[in-house]
């Protein structure tokens, strides 16, 4: 029985990966939730918006790298994020102009917009694959680890090592900054307040002189920024592959819905709930339990609740369970 080792093992294999993954999901879910709150539909193209923004950032990163620019220990991609955001913003604004605005003017039913976003999803997906191809792209550079397992062991003399990847630390720091900025914007600025007013009651907001097209424009800009940041962080932490980003749509939606669609705090909470359950339920707890429990109680098996094949399924089981008991999510989101 060795509690300290148990805590270290738990942090290494569960807490740190889940916090990093949860931050990425939360940023993605914030984008989905904002679109739902303001434009009033579930955007199926969000995963592919992330892919497009990330791809733009990757192309810019490669250009920077070819010029010999680097951030030293930090990944060069950080410098490319603004360019990625610009790319994604151009794409979503063009789409809004060419596609969504027509249906907004018609006051089309929300479900029609969802189907429209399916078409947009196909197009984004095709465009990204046309430009960078369907394969894995590696754009992570700089220092790999903030602290490696071996250094940690040498430093503390513990049996278990603790490794923190630079990208994991970066993910959390960036996510905190972005979320703080977003909430400051929504709660303190005039534009942010008008967005919230528009989301709460469209007619009342229009009466008080809020320009809906401006609200929509700002929303798309914020969504493009959130999607790109989430996508770049995920790509740095894991890998960039267009299809993976399409698949991310599923846990992202699960996060947004578990929290309650249209509710930003819910999106963040949902992201972490989904990430922690995914990692926790598919992790083999044997190591942690061996440290934490007295020898006589040590488990024989791996103590893995579900095989890792079920990673994706877990987010949906949670989703379904939450929806059964709270049909609009934990934080009481909207429903149109």
């Amino acid at each position: 029985m060795d509690l300290l080792n148990a805590i270290v093992a738990l942090s290494n294999f569960v807490l740190i990966p889940a916090i990093a993954y949860g931050s990425q999901l939360a940023l993605g879910a914030l984008g989905v939730t904002l679109i739902y709150g303001i434009l009033r539909f579930s955007n199926f193209a969000h995963g592919d918006t992330m892919a497009f923004g990330t791809m733009s950032a990757i192309l810019f990163t490669w250009w920077l790298q070819s010029l010999g620019v680097s951030l030293g220990p930090l990944p060069t991609a950080l410098l490319a994020i603004p360019a990625g955001i610009a790319g994604a913003a151009a794409l979503v604004l063009l789409t809004d102009r060419g596609v969504y605005r027509f249906y907004r003017a018609q006051k089309a039913k929300p479900v029609i917009l969802v189907i429209v976003s399916m078409g947009v999803m196909f197009i984004y997906n095709g465009v990204v694959r046309l430009i960078v191809g369907p394969g894995d792209q590696n754009f992570a550079d700089g220092e790999r680890f903030l602290i490696s397992a071996r250094t940690f062991r040498d430093l503390t003399g513990l049996e278990e090592g603790l490794a923190i990847r630079t990208t994991q630390a970066l993910t959390v720091v960036t996510a905190v900054i972005v979320v703080a900025l977003l909430f400051w914007f929504l709660n303190r600025t005039r534009t942010g307040k008008s967005m919230r007013a528009y989301s709460d009651n469209e007619d009342l907001a229009l009466l008080s002189g809020i320009n809906p097209e401006r609200v929509v424009l700002v929303t798309w800009l914020i969504v493009a920024a959130l999607a790109t940041v989430a996508g770049v962080l995920y790509g740095l932490d894991k890998t960039f592959k267009p299809f993976t980003y399409f698949q991310l749509l599923l846990p992202i939606f699960a996060s947004a819905i578990v929290g309650g669609l249209g509710n930003p705090i819910g999106a963040i909470a949902g992201g972490f709930i989904v990430a922690f359950s995914e990692v926790g339920i598919t992790y083999a707890w044997k190591k942690v339990l061996n440290h934490a429990l007295p020898e006589s109680l040590a488990p024989d098996g791996l103590v893995q609740l579900l095989s890792t094949d079920y990673k994706f399924a877990v987010s949906f089981v949670i989703l379904v369970i939450v929806l059964l008991f709270r049909p609009t999510g934990l934080f009481r989101g909207k429903s149109v």
Partner: protein
């Protein structure tokens, strides 16, 4: 244009496209397109029943199609007797135990009240899960260790493969009933995401539970309802008859086999289409459309909206299950990894929307047309790219890139078609009457 004339013209156009493939490419490719077109039309018919007629937004088509595919394995593959002896009984017991736990938890939730209710249900589920795993795990291990390279699963019942088509429908219907019971009360977008998620769960189970259908190791060499090409080629009577048509034995046998599938698929499609048309024109169909157009009013007229939604959800999903079984029979193998939402959910949706939601003939037309385009966009794109890049020097990086990325034109084209139809002909090529 008169609606029925329009229908004839559209179907003539699609037939011309497929015949054109036969004349300009090969009859084998034309029949391949026709066969998958027939399967796609059945899928589109199922989705049309749910969305076009009842307004239910189901984005979990892939899950039902996959369940149909599973039925083919469960029905037609011979049973693996050693595996059954090793752990079959225990496994069935574990599954029943799992069901009992869920039933007990549901009962606890229904019967109890207050604080006790939540805790009792959670306690039952958690304890039940560990007991279930304790019984299941050793049984699974025993089954999967029986000759894992070739079997490692329980196999099926060894019955004729055609039987798996209705069974695929039943399997999908059963799953749809469970899903409908839990998810149909949700509002539109929440229902959509829930069905999307449940489809992913079905695929995860197919991939992970090796004892069921070998998981990602795939089941290959499934029985066929039609003869094998090689047997036909070795049959002198067949070779003689083929020669009578001026065909060599190889071509004749492949065409013959594919035509056999076409006849079977067409029979299923026609039966389902007639049933769907009769249903649509019956009082039941009018009621469904009334519910779709104004749920509140229909409820006020005394219609049980929840029960009707469940009914049509189960029926539509069963049709998707039948289509899934047909497709797996045609492929002759079950490959869980091939079930992708873009192909098996969203593409079917494109078929329904483009064809005309609410119109059964429209859904069938959409199935054929979109499948034709899905197959032909690639060679066509190849041709365009070759023309576009013909002026560039060989070895040009851009030229190589453009030629390599032709295959991704498919997704792009499907998206563009969907958006164009939604914008300029929102009711589809054959609008609802």
């Amino acid at each position: 244009m008169n609606p029925s004339v329009r229908t004839w013209v559209m179907f003539a156009l699609v037939s011309a496209l497929i015949l054109g493939t036969g004349f300009f490419q090969s009859w084998n490719s034309a029949l391949l397109i026709l066969n998958m077109g027939l399967v796609s039309a059945v899928m589109a018919l199922g989705v049309n029943l749910q969305w076009g007629i009842a307004g239910l937004f189901n984005v979990g088509v892939m899950g039902f199609v996959a369940l149909g595919g599973l039925a083919v394995v469960l029905i037609s593959v011979p049973p693996v007797t050693e595996a059954w002896a090793a752990g079959g009984g225990r496994l069935i017991g574990a599954l029943l135990l799992g069901l009992a736990v869920i039933a007990a938890a549901v009962q606890a939730w229904k019967r109890l009240s207050g604080v006790l209710r939540g805790w009792a249900m959670a306690g039952l589920l958690i304890v039940g899960f560990f007991v279930y795993r304790a019984v299941l795990d050793p049984a699974v291990e025993a089954i999967e260790s029986v000759n894992p390279a070739a079997t490692g699963y329980l196999g099926g019942l060894g019955l004729p493969v055609l039987l798996s088509w209705p069974v695929g429908g039943l399997l999908a219907a059963g799953a749809a009933w469970v899903i409908g019971k839990t998810a149909l009360g949700l509002r539109s977008d929440y229902l959509a995401i829930a069905t999307l998620g449940i489809a992913e769960i079905v695929i995860a189970i197919l991939k992970a539970e090796d004892w069921l259908a070998r998981g990602v190791k795939n089941v290959i060499g499934l029985p066929r309802p039609v003869p094998y090409e090689i047997d036909l080629q070795n049959d002198p009577a067949f070779v003689d008859r083929a020669a009578g048509f001026g065909l060599d034995a190889t071509t004749a046998s492949t065409v013959y086999v594919k035509l056999g599938y076409s006849v079977l698929f067409a029979a299923v499609l026609i039966v389902l289409l007639v049933l769907a048309q009769l249903a649509l024109k019956s009082p039941w169909g009018r009621m469904m459309r009334a519910i779709r157009d104004n749920e509140t009013a229909a409820r006020a007229m005394g219609k049980n909206v929840t029960a009707r939604h469940l009914q049509v959800f189960v029926l539509g999903s069963a049709i998707c299950g039948i289509a899934g079984a047909m497709m797996t029979t045609l492929d002759g193998q079950l490959t869980p990894i091939s079930y992708q939402p873009l192909r098996f959910t969203f593409l079917v949706w494109v078929m329904v929307i483009v064809g005309g939601s609410g119109n059964n003939l429209g859904a069938v037309l959409g199935g054929f047309l979109i499948w034709f385009l899905w197959v032909q966009v690639e060679p066509f794109g190849q041709w365009i790219m070759t023309v576009v890049t013909s002026g560039m020097a060989d070895g040009n990086a851009l030229k190589a890139h453009l030629l390599d990325s032709v295959q991704h034109m498919r997704l792009l084209t499907m998206g563009v078609i969907l958006l164009l139809v939604l914008r300029f002909s929102p009711r589809g090529l054959l609008p609802e009457r």
